[in-house]
Amino acid sequence: MALIYNLFHYGMLWYAVSMLGCYIFLSSLAIIEAVRYLRRSRLTNYNLLASSPYAPSVSILAPAYNEGANIIENVRSLLSIYYNNLELIVINDGSKDDSMAKLIEAYHLAPAQLEYHQQLATKRVKAVYKSTNPVYNKLLVIDKENGGKADALNSGINLAKNQYLVCIDVDCILEQDALLKLVKPFMDETGKKVIATGGVVRIANSCVFKNGKLMDVNLPKDYLPRAQALEYIRAFLLGRMAWSNLNGLLLISGAFGAFDREVAIAAGGYNHNTVGEDMELVVRMRRYMADRKIPYKVAFIPDPLCWTEAPATYQILGRQRNRWMRGTIETLNMHRKLFMNPKYGVLGLMSYPYWLFYELLAPVIEFTGFILFLILAFAGLINWSFFLVLTAFILLFGWLFSTFAILMEVVTFNQYKKRGDLGKLILTALAEPFLFHPFIVWSSIKGIVDLLRKKNAWGEMTRQGFNTAPQTPKV
């Protein structure tokens, strides 16, 4: 019994210390990478690419399901992206609302005989539309039977002709130069093939938009989106920058990421059998390259390129985190061959174990620890003075990490510079372990339970819609 207790005790201690060590290590790498990027970026004239005939060709894939309320504005926003060599493919994934009718009317769409090469299996495509209005000549619309996001993206890949695919959630708002910045890493490497790039996704709640463009950045007013804003700063500015430095990124956000079309197709496109299709595709593309011993890289840029609305209620947030957890487990399970496999280098020896131990198992261990704490507390076996000190230690480390992330934000992109924003972010960080984090752990546990019970629904995501600036009255 004593042996089991000691194993558990020291095991937990080892786990906590190694996790803290990882966070410190990753933060250091993130600083190096961010500084390097910022110095390079200051020397770069991105506009050079906007009109160049040698700019790589890009196909934007925007799947839409029941987005009728905002689809016209969202497509208009995507059509206004500053990039010349571009096609925009909107995929209506069997919407039950009037999305398709609205698109046909607003953009003068007519069925077109286009080359649709079924390289990836998808649900039936009913028709492909092209605008009869030359103003919208970049726009193509696929109308297909409902098959989920992965299926919709695969049908977009089948139609896409261009060199790079940019997969985006149709309701995201992009910065004007987002594509220029996202495409550059593909053109910057000579020794390695860049197979995917991702940029920072930021929280759009409380920000002001006009005609699909970001006008004013605000820190979200409500607590939940604000906590997610902080979480995204931590995840993108520290986590992904660090993994980018190591060339160990496993995830390019499904909200906005670019992929090499040939490699994506050769790797088999998006997987229909997981709700974490974005992560799964990156892992599979990496495996594809590593198996063939082709030097490759997955790049990441810390510029805020894409703005998305974060769930503002516990119900919607819970569904999202439940899905993220299921997606992570499914992906790691599908690619378990990578675990500690030296053949896959950083991917097998660092990225996969990190995700397994500190992303997937963390909520399980936290939840188990909490249950055990309750049992021991009821049994009167807790050394309260030690417990309080240990709790303070863990809380302080969490706050330290969040404060460091906020500092990184202030030093680098400093998006939230209004009076009081800094204080609000720090207070959000202080409240996070009590208000936000337990709920995330609980949602993840529910995700694991749902997966075990073979519930694989996507989970409906209701949006509140963006703040729009008042229109200037016409004179």
Binding site: L48, S52, H117, A392, F393, L396, L400, T403, V410
Partner: protein, 344 residues
């Protein structure tokens, strides 16, 4: 020995510390670091807003003066630009000189002709090139690259020999800025470093160079032919892009030769290039190359180029390809045939 005694002493001291005391110490450390980070944050925020305010003030101070300089008439331009006392005083500070330098570089990169010349003359008059050169001589790569960029934008030809030595610099940013600067200052003649260049040119850098050469027709055909023979495939690729951009059909035979290059990027560029200088021999070369091409992607590229520039004489060749078992290829062949037939 005293060092060993010290460490043994330390170890014995540490052994006396209980786990609880260790946690207290760590908690105190974490708290101090958090407070330190928050202080740093506040300090940086204040410093940034102060700097932004200072920058804004300087910009508004410079604005009218710079506008008047930009608008100076040609006959006045040879004169020494007078400087208001307020600006003269401000420029005694290094920060203000830096701010003016950045403003001049920003304006100059967007202006040409007389306005650009006036800005350049002001840059020389204030000897701001010394600041740029100082950066270029820095050991920090990002300052070096910035200095080179400024000197190139301000057309500082006197620094050419120094910039030239940096075209082969091991740091990629320094190297590319120096190479860009050479082309910016000397056009095609600035590319003489190609002969020694072992590093590859990135796609991004190629676009930069092509843009700088866009309005300068190729004058020295032998130089381009030499580039096509160089062992660095990225230079060959660049030369092919240049030929495409300028539709320089005099290089057709050289481009056809590149179809048998060992490097795929060169073959791919040669195929694209032949599409930009279309002719019967070019189409014939593409058809002949098709069967020997090992890459399916390049075969598809050949079909795309034939569709773009081909004539009905391509049809018999394409009819043969209809039997290919690859669905993707078959689809591309059908598309090309349809397109060419529609043209008829």
């Amino acid at each position: 020995m005293p060092v060993a005694t010290f460490f043994i002493g330390m170890y014995q001291e540490l052994q006396r510390i209980t786990a609880l005391e260790l946690f207290y110490a760590t908690i105190a450390l974490f708290t101090s670091i958090i407070l330190g980070l928050i202080s740093a944050m506040v300090f940086i925020m204040l410093a940034k807003s102060k700097q932004a305010a200072r920058q804004k003030h300087l910009q508004s101070t410079f604005k009218q003066w710079l506008v008047s300089i930009i608008l100076q008439e040609p006959d006045e331009a040879n004169t020494f630009f007078s400087m208001p006392e307020e600006i003269s005083l401000a420029l005694q500070k290094r920060f203000a000189r830096r701010a003016l330098l950045e403003e001049l570089v920003r304006l100059k990169s967007n202006l040409s002709g007389r306005a650009g010349d006036n800005l350049q003359q002001l840059y020389n008059q204030l000897q701001l090139h010394k600041l740029s050169a100082h950066d270029m001589h820095s050991s920090k790569w990002y300052l070096k690259a910035k200095g080179i960029q400024e000197l190139a934008t301000m057309d500082q030809k006197t620094y050419l020999p120094e910039i030239y030595t940096l075209t082969l610099h091991p740091n990629v940013q320094v190297r590319t800025e120096a190479q860009t600067a050479m082309v910016c200052l000397q056009g095609y003649e600035g590319l003489t470093f190609f002969k020694q260049l072992a590093y590859p040119l990135t796609e991004w850098h190629q676009v930069q160079l092509l843009q700088l050469l866009a309005n300068q027709p190729i004058s020295n055909t032998e130089m381009i032919r030499d580039w096509l023979q160089l062992p660095n495939p990225s230079i060959v690729q660049f030369a092919l892009k240049l030929i495409s951009e300028q539709h320089a059909s005099q290089f057709q035979q050289d481009v056809i030769t590149c179809l048998s290059h060992l490097e795929e990027i060169v073959r791919s560029q040669a195929i694209a290039c032949l599409g930009e200088i279309p002719s019967a021999p070019a189409a014939q070369a593409l058809r002949s190359h098709y069967s020997s091409e090992s890459s399916k992607t390049l075969q598809l590229n050949i079909l795309a180029e034939l569709m773009k520039t081909g004539t009905t004489s391509e049809l018999p060749f394409l009819q043969q390809l209809r039997l290919t078992p690859d669905e993707g290829m078959r689809l591309a062949v059908e598309k090309t045939i349809n397109h060419l037939q529609q043209q008829v």
